[in-house]
């Protein structure tokens, strides 16, 4: 019986390279050696003149014959996938129901289906896998629940593996179903206030500038010039010295801000396989900052440091807000899985600089996991785009390696600060708390 050796081990891994609608067949060699079993029994029976053993050998012959005659079954399936809610909110559970129908002429005695769950989603309950047997025209249904996260999640083709009744001949195929992507767009909620740098546009707004004019906060007094408004004359000074002076206040202007999200492969750092990655936190921060900054009448745009180009020009208004919401939720550059390509800072950085309006300042959301991004931000700052950094902290002190990474990251933060770039360290806390801390220290 030991000759009945196991065939090559199989599973999902065997078919990792199988493309959509591709079909391959193979033999599992499950029953290899079963004829040897028949011969051993028969030979023992003959040698010992025990007819019963010869008859027993017939059982082995039957299985060997079945395995030898096995042909891979025709695999013709229709897959229908439906979701309970195609437009869910983040954190919702969505029930996915898959209906498999055998549309072929012959029955499938051994059918396994593994559904292509979107890579960024986790299965909460139930199983996206099914083992069944289907007669022609018959169908089977299975369902499972996934927890939805931000993004547009397309289902991948399901893997269907069918075997003949002895389990020897196997045919596998990737079955595509109608595209029913799950789109999850979080709402932009303003959280806290970020102190911006003093780089503004000509429009009135709420960023205090060093420009004298009308406003609230005192700036300077200067000699009266004809045409100055009466309300800004320094009447007390006139009474004391007899000279006409005008008080200037610090003008409040609007800023043009581009939220730059670090979505390079290096930024996809998380504390564990199930924890939120730094990019995810950066995107969340960008959403909150978009809300907060547009509420203060600034023009806000969005860009990403990513191999995939991602750009939304600074703007205001309801339509722009909807665009920003859509981009933050579903843009492939901000996907919850790391990008394939490499980010070339010189090429992409130059392209981004060409697109930036001259008076735009940058608010960068980056975990600062390498030195390259620090140099890049210093170059942006030197090129006249004032930079502010909001840095989600992806480190903890659990292992020596993580402690080292944490120290390196803090060094990068202080490098930026010593170059005059405000850098906010966002630890494991709500963004509003971190922003409030920054507001106090500013």
């Amino acid at each position: 019986m030991a000759a009945m050796a196991a065939g090559p081990s199989e599973g999902e891994g065997t078919y990792a390279d199988l493309g959509p609608n591709e079909t391959i067949t193979r033999r599992t060699e499950r029953w290899r050696g079963v004829s040897a079993l028949a011969l051993v029994a028969g030979a023992a029976g003959v040698l010992a003149s025990q007819a019963a053993l010869v008859v027993a050998g017939a059982v082995g012959v039957a299985f060997a014959a079945l395995a030898n005659a096995a042909r891979p079954p025709e695999l013709s399936l229709a897959l229908e996938r439906s979701v309970s809610d195609a437009d869910p909110d983040p954190g919702d559970s969505v029930t996915v129901t898959v209906d498999v129908t055998n549309t072929g002429e012959s029955s499938l005695p051994d059918l396994r289906v593994i559904d292509g769950v979107p890579p960024a989603l986790g299965v909460e309950s139930g199983s996206p896998r099914l083992g069944t047997a289907l007669r022609p025209g018959e169908s089977a249904t299975f369902s499972y629940e996934v927890a939805v996260a931000r993004g547009s999640h397309a289902f991948e083709p399901a893997l269907a593996v069918a075997r003949d009744v002895s389990g020897t001949a196997e045919r596998a195929r990737r079955v595509t179903a109608d595209a029913t992507p799950l789109t999850c767009v979080p709402t932009l909620e303003a959280a806290g206030e970020l102190p911006l740098r003093a780089q503004t546009t000509g429009q009135p707004g709420r960023v205090l500038t060093e420009i004298g004019g009308s406003g609230v906060a005192f700036h300077t007094t200067r000699e009266y010039r004809p045409g100055d408004p009466l309300s800004r004359l320094d009447w007390n000074g006139l009474a004391k010295t007899g000279e006409l002076t005008t008080v200037d206040f610090r003008e409040e202007r609007a800023a043009s801000v581009v939220l730059l999200i670090d979505a390079r492969e290096q930024a996809y750092r998380a504390l564990g396989p199930d924890a939120e990655s730094a990019v995810e936190r950066s995107v969340r921060a960008a959403g909150s900052l978009y809300g907060a900054l547009t509420d203060e009448e600034n023009r806000v745009g969005i860009a990403a440091l990513s191999p995939e180009p991602c750009w939304l020009a600074p703007g205001v208004g309801t339509a722009h807000r909807a665009q920003a919401q859509e981009l933050l939720a579903t843009h492939p550059a901000l996907a919850s899985t790391p990008p394939e390509g490499t980010y070339y800072p010189s090429i992409r950085g130059r392209r981004l600089r060409r697109r930036l309006p001259d008076d735009a300042q940058l608010v960068v959301c980056s975990p600062l996991c390498d030195d390259g991004v620090v140099r890049l931000l210093q170059r942006f700052d030197a090129a006249g785009h004032r930079v502010t950094v909001v840095s989600p902290d992806p480190t903890d002190g659990a292992t020596p390696g993580r402690r080292l990474a944490g120290v390196e990251r803090r060094l990068r933060l202080s490098t930026l600060r010593s170059a005059g770039i405000p850098a906010l360290d966002w630890r494991d806390e709500p963004l509003a708390t971190a922003l409030a801390r920054a507001g106090r220290s500013a």
């Binding site: 196991a6 008859v55 012959v61 060997a64 005695p109 896998r129």
Partner: protein
């Protein structure tokens, strides 16, 4: 955020129960001698261990133990019906046990695999029962006399040549 979490890949339930039952039934037929019964029991323990841990090699070893017990029982002259039944039960137990381990590893315990397992177990029983029944019937008709062995050998050789031709 990761893809689907790892599945619970222990052997599928229905197959586990069925394979254990089949191997126990096979052992019952080995009571002809102490040695064969002992071998059969060792086989059952190994099959059970393999099913508990998902070890395919242990199941195959257990199947081999059961089969050795069957051959021993046949050699000491156990009745033909019993020997053929034990052989069929052994093969079915091995088949269903390895199938259960495979399905467990591939689809996991969470998945609904009942129909797949029942169909496979049923097919396995039918495939084992037909030659066993035919063989025993033939054996009874031939009367088990000395002429039976050459006749069966001839038939067996013909069948082997026909079915195993590549």
């Amino acid at each position: 955020m990761t893809a689907t979490p790892p599945i619970d890949d222990s052997p599928a339930r229905v197959s586990t129960g069925f394979a254990l039952a089949a191997s126990l039934a096979g052992t019952l037929g080995l009571a002809a001698s102490t040695a064969s019964l002992a071998l059969g029991l060792v086989g059952v323990v190994l099959v059970a261990l393999g099913l508990a841990r998902g070890w395919r090699a242990a199941v195959t070893l257990g199947g081999a133990g059961l089969f050795c017990g069957v051959v021993l029982a046949g050699l000491v002259g156990a009745p033909a019906g019993v020997v053929v039944f034990a052989t069929a039960a052994t093969v079915v137990a091995w088949d269903v046990a390895t199938f259960g381990i495979e399905v467990g590893a591939e689809l996991g315990r969470e998945a609904d695999t009942r129909r797949l397992e029942l169909v496979h177990a049923g097919a396995s029983v039918v495939v084992a029962a037909i030659p066993a029944g035919l063989g025993v019937a033939l054996f009874r008709i031939a009367g088990g006399g000395p002429s039976f062995v050459p006749v069966a050998l001839l038939c067996g050789a013909v069948i082997l040549v026909v079915v195993l031709r590549p």
